[in-house]
């Protein structure tokens, strides 16, 4: 396809044509099958770019815990009242307590932000959610039983059980034991297990990524940068971490 036609396609799909240009171009599209095919292809590329943009944006949102606290919030939206406002009669002491609470939370957050400049790394290196648990009648019961503990935040319990498992791949065990230690912020222990994962393992990339987290926590930035080199650049948060490490290593 000629470059000129491709640029016209871009102009068309990005809505940059005048009404007259659009009309003429749409006539051409009807009679030129190749151009129509190319249009559909470019539409998909643009949609994939938008998809990536939205996906990146969504990583900053979390389902609100506050909204989940009230059972009434779980009703389907069709049942929700249609009025746009509601009146809340609040007792003064409730309001006063809220103000105090907000003030305290604000102070707490502010002081934490000041004292923990790496706080946002907890979001980047979010905790591995673990594998779906299958508690059927199988001989890997202990492995999945420990996975339930892991998901429940009972990391020490999970480590104890996984240490007794022998019928699961070594790399899988090392990875999850390492992750459990990492969640306990026992960095050295976590590192010991994660660095054992062999190159051929499908968990290698993830283990390298979390090793970066460990070295950052230990303030061993050179080692963190070395581990990061083994992580694919398209990993979410990669560039942010790379920039952070560059500033630390300078």
């Amino acid at each position: 396809m000629e470059n000129k036609d491709f640029e016209l396609l871009e102009k068309y799909l990005l809505g940059k044509m005048s009404d007259e240009e659009r009309r003429i171009f749409e006539e051409r599209l009807k009679s030129d099958a190749d151009l129509e095919t190319e249009k559909e292809r470019l539409e998909e590329y643009i949609l994939a770019i938008e998809y990536g943009n939205l996906k990146e944006a969504l990583s900053q949102y979390k389902i609100s815990e506050e909204e989940m606290s009230g059972e009434e919030n779980f009703s389907f939206p069709d049942d929700a009242p249609a009025d746009k406002t509601r009146i809340l009669n609040l007792r003064p002491w409730v309001v006063a307590a809220s103000v105090l609470l907000i003030g305290w939370a604000g102070y707490f957050l502010f002081s934490n932000l000041n004292s923990q400049p790496d706080l946002h790394f907890e979001k980047i290196f979010y905790s591995d959610p673990g594998l779906p648990t299958m508690m059927g009648e199988n001989d890997r019961y202990l492995f999945y039983d420990a996975m339930v503990d892991y998901k429940a935040g009972e990391y020490e319990e999970a480590i104890g059980k996984w240490s007794e498992v022998s019928d699961i791949g070594r790399d899988t065990l090392d990875y999850y034991i390492g992750m459990a230690w990492l969640n306990l912020k026992e960095w050295e222990e976590a590192e010991q297990f994660l660095q054992q994962i062999p190159v051929e393992s499908s968990l290698k990339n993830k283990s390298d990524w979390y090793r970066v987290r460990i070295y950052i926590a230990l303030e061993e930035y050179e080692k963190a940068a070395q581990a990061l080199e083994k992580v694919p650049e398209n990993r979410e948060g990669y560039q942010e971490v790379k920039t952070y490490l560059s500033s630390k290593i300078k």
Partner: protein, 204 residues
Amino acid sequence: MDCKVSLFIAILAVNRITMKVTEPRFSDEELVEGLKRQDPVMIQYLYQNAGPMVYKLVVNAGGDGNDAEDVFQEGILATYLNIRTGKYKLSAQARLTTYLVQICKYKWLDHVKSAYVSKNILGFDNELLPEVQNPDQDEKEDQIKMLHRCIQELGETCRRILQLFYWEKKSYDEIATQIGQTPSSAKNQKYRCMKKLKELATTV
């Protein structure tokens, strides 16, 4: 600051007050248009209004909070694609938030089903879940996800240029300023990125 807070509390304590809290509620038209623009206000609204339902749905079905977050994110992305491709059509019977929750439900069922399939591939047992029919898991979504992975492989500079040009609709002059190149270099670079994307997409 403490004095101001104390004063405020004192004023509240002597005056019983009625607070009028305005809750933004959006029509489906507003939500659809807002989601098309990827408007943060609309996204936040969906997280606040549909998110807890999906959370409860997933957690009650054996998942955890992280599963719920993943499923909800996938649900919004699928809804976005369906809006953009015209698959979602505005109607009084299918409110957008209800539609989104329904998609999330199918996503979670798919997730559970794939876990069972993995289980069988791994040879744990021969049990199979009944077929879960998801009308919203279509080829288009798979195709866009595949292209998204190809774009990820292009590297940061290409991703940025394509995002600036095709999503933010910036001119080459503006792109050049942002990436520290001349406008003609930015144009050439974008051309090379698209060429590479095409190559990757056809080899997958």
